[in-house]
């Protein structure tokens, strides 16, 4: 079965991309599956300078989900480009850099550094991180800011596709998606995590040192599907569906709503070979949807 997808200048073997922050720099998973088989890999959020991230505890398991407040710990973009990217199978699989910055000019600088890299297939702009006090979330909740950041990155991307990753913690996500489109985004990916919290009645403390964190996993899939549905009906640029995908069926649900491809996040923790298993399982799930082509399925949702 042909599972190839092409959009926004990207050509992917299949629509399964691993989501930022849940698949490390890819290399952590290389003994659990052949990275070349993935449709794409979005690496952990990168910033200009190295970041130590938030204090511990940073993660907490919740019913069918988890909270994280990692705070974009990363070795900085230089170290990534020097030590990690060359080891990745970037000729065979789309490697996508996830960008984090706390101001528009900083996003621009980061784009400058990344744009020239042959090994990167696209840039994903994270304007939706709920785990850093300023920057991330604030950007992602304001359409005007989203547009500005997008314009800035696009201007410096040297033609590389720019994907803007949207936050669900807004009253109207379609407007945010439109803002990205107007800013020149080649695609939008959604959703990032829902702002959440957990507390421990024994210690009387929040389960995360950061107090609040981002909720992900199967628990949020219904919210992600709704957001993708709302956005697909509003924008003309491609949409990448993210949120709670653990199976090939889940992936097809997003594609049925109009997504070009999907990202798999928390499911990588269910077991480290889960993304590979989802790919293996796609043909079976396609049969279940009585389809032999993703293009036929895409956007095929029958609305009343």
């Amino acid at each position: 079965m042909d599972l190839r997808v092409e959009f926004a200048g990207l050509v992917l073997k299949n629509p399964i991309i691993t989501a930022s922050g849940t698949f490390g720099f890819g290399l952590e998973f290389s003994s659990f599956g052949d990275l070349k088989r993935l449709g794409g890999i979005v690496v952990k959020g990168l910033s200009l300078k190295p970041r130590e991230g938030n204090p511990m505890p940073r993660v907490s398991e919740t019913p069918c989900g988890m909270l994280n407040a990692i705070g974009i710990q990363n070795p900085g973009v230089e170290v990534f480009l020097r030590d990690k990217l060359p080891l990745l199978p970037w000729r065979e699989t789309a490697i996508i850099a996830n960008m984090y910055a706390s101001s528009v000019p900083e996003f621009g600088e980061l784009a400058d550094v990344l744009a020239g890299e042959e090994g990167l297939a696209a840039l994903e702009v994270n304007v939706s991180c709920p785990n850093v006090s300023h920057g991330g979330a604030a950007f992602g909740q304001d359409p005007a800011q989203i547009r500005k950041v997008t314009e800035e990155v696009k201007k410096r991307a040297k033609g590389k596709p720019v994907i803007v990753k949207l936050s669900p913690n807004v009253t109207d996500i379609a407007t945010c998606a439109l803002a990205a489109q107007e800013g020149g985004a080649d695609a939008v990916s959604l959703i990032n995590t829902l702002l959440g919290m957990a507390v421990d009645i024994r210690t009387r403390m929040p389960c995360l040192a950061n107090v609040v964190g981002g909720l992900s996993g199967p628990a949020i899939k219904p919210v992600a599907l709704r957001c993708v549905h709302q956005v697909c009906r509003k924008v003309s640029i491609p949409v990448i569906g993210v949120g709670g995908i653990v199976s090939a069926e889940d992936a097809l649900e997003f594609i049925l709503l109009g997504a070009q491809a999907v990202q798999v996040g928390t499911a990588n923790f269910l077991r480290p070979d889960q993304s590979f298993r989802i790919i293996d399982d796609l043909p079976r799930a396609m049969l279940k949807a009585r389809s032999s082509s993703l293009d036929e399925l895409r956007g095929g949702i029958k609305l009343p």
Binding site: G21, T22, G24, P272
Partner: protein
Amino acid sequence: MVERNCREVKIREIRFLGTWDEPSDFMELVLENPGWESYRPGQFAMLRAKLWGLELPWGRPFSISRVDAESVTFFIQVVGRGTSRLAQLRANDEVVVWGPLGNGFSVLPETPTLLLAGGMGLAPFRGYIERHPTPKYLRLLFAHRPALDFYPYSDMGQKVRAEAIQERSTDDLPDIIRRIETVMDECAGGLALACGPTPFLRTVQAHALKKGIRAEISLEKTMACGIGACLGCVCKNGQDRHVQVCAHGPVFPVADIRI
């Protein structure tokens, strides 16, 4: 090094060793060996019962307690949602395991080596003793709260010089700490390896640093991925940098980590 892999294997046996404090059961979980003969004691594996479904999205980390040609044994205390679900399993049920993960303890043949175990921290030392080339150089000090029968201690006590001290109340703590420090001093020229609750490790670390004793400690953190990808299990290292306990540890030289 053995290849890490992710496998579905069958449970051969679950041996309940007793129930201590509601709802805390002690058990040994014996699985088919997924090919881990060459693991290094101190390494761990992530376990996930298939019946967890999606409610618990994470596996759970457990020290590999012992490995023989056919099986892998984990020694597990029921403390919460995942472990109580593991306790409900039966022989022939399937679990998903990935491992061996992380770094094991150093093995220095013909070097006096002190094994400091606190509670469930006993688990990795079982395999350590079994695999050590010169076990007569080993000495075990085991600090525990529940009765000794709940632990696979007697087996281990037959193979190496061993001593157990029970904490019946917090009043016993100063004595226990003193005892730990004393035996560490007695082994000062050798190697001290510790696994147990954080306060226990702090005692060992502080004393080792003070006396310049070569020592390694195995840390416990909540883990989501177990393979260094999520950055959920970090500690600060000697350079004040966050490092993943699962991938850079769980065993660290005492000087390399802040706990």
